[in-house]
Symmetry: C2
Subunit: 154 residues, 2 copies
């Protein structure tokens, strides 16, 4: 839905399915930054805000139903319907809070603790996505994730 270097002109709402936001790192591997599940919004917000070239790719992880809200439409809706400002402000405030939590875990905890935290928060999601994508999101190699799962299941 979006490639690095394009302008991200839309905010995407997941009606059904799952999106991922990722970039290609210097080693040529896909590094996943975010997933978006049902009822969540996803965009490359720097590109969306500034109409600058996107730094990320956005792609569906599985068959999905997505509502695309273009920047122009979003601006119009926000101007015409004040309740939508409140809606997006609340969504962003919750997302921003989740980011503070995620930074805490990235900085303060071991890889194993990060994995256990994530699986305790999203047990069904961990079963649902391909394991190499979960590994990428957690900053692991697929081999490390596989070893960790074996170790924890013993």
């Amino acid at each position: 839905m979006l490639r690095e270097g394009e302008i991200c002109r839309s905010n995407y709402f997941v009606e059904k399915g799952c999106l991922r936001l990722y970039f290609i790192n210097e080693k040529g591997s896909e590094q996943i930054i975010q997933f978006a599940l049902e009822n969540w919004w996803l965009s490359d917000y720097v590109s969306f805000n500034n109409a600058s070239p996107a730094q990320f790719y956005i792609q569906a992880v599985e068959d999905s139903v997505i509502i695309e809200l273009t920047r122009n439409h979003q601006d119009k809706i926000l101007d015409e319907i004040p309740a939508m400002e409140k809606y997006f402000r609340k969504i962003l405030q919750i997302s921003y809070a989740a980011n503070q939590n995620r930074f805490k875990f990235l900085y303060g905890f071991s890889k194993e603790e990060n994995y256990q935290h994530f699986t305790s928060l999203f047990p069904e999601f961990v079963q649902r996505i391909p394991q190499y994508m979960l590994a990428s999101y957690l900053g692991f190699t697929p081999e490390y994730l596989s070893e960790l799962r074996k170790k924890l299941s013993q």
Copy 2:
């Protein structure tokens, strides 16, 4: 201004000076997650949103002038003045975009690249704050930061 375990009942605006948001990690060290400079807002948003115990400390880094907006006041202002919804939605959308960038750097780049990226974005700030705080924010030991600065100045 806030200690871990307290309820964060306010959103703080930096009129002058600088705040930091940090937690104490398992080794007993302060791990800084965020700084807030002039014209920026800072809060423990999980605690602020849910009235749950704070996970972070918030403290002034230098003599500062701070405007404290309590949750009750913010809710009132947002209900009475729709333009404030737009203001906070925009602020949060910009902050969220900055977080996506930061995740990209945390996942995709080396410690040295992270340091160079941060100093290129905020050259004055890097001079202004105590170096052990900069090290903490970047996830370095103070010794590593000192060595890196020496190496890069050669």
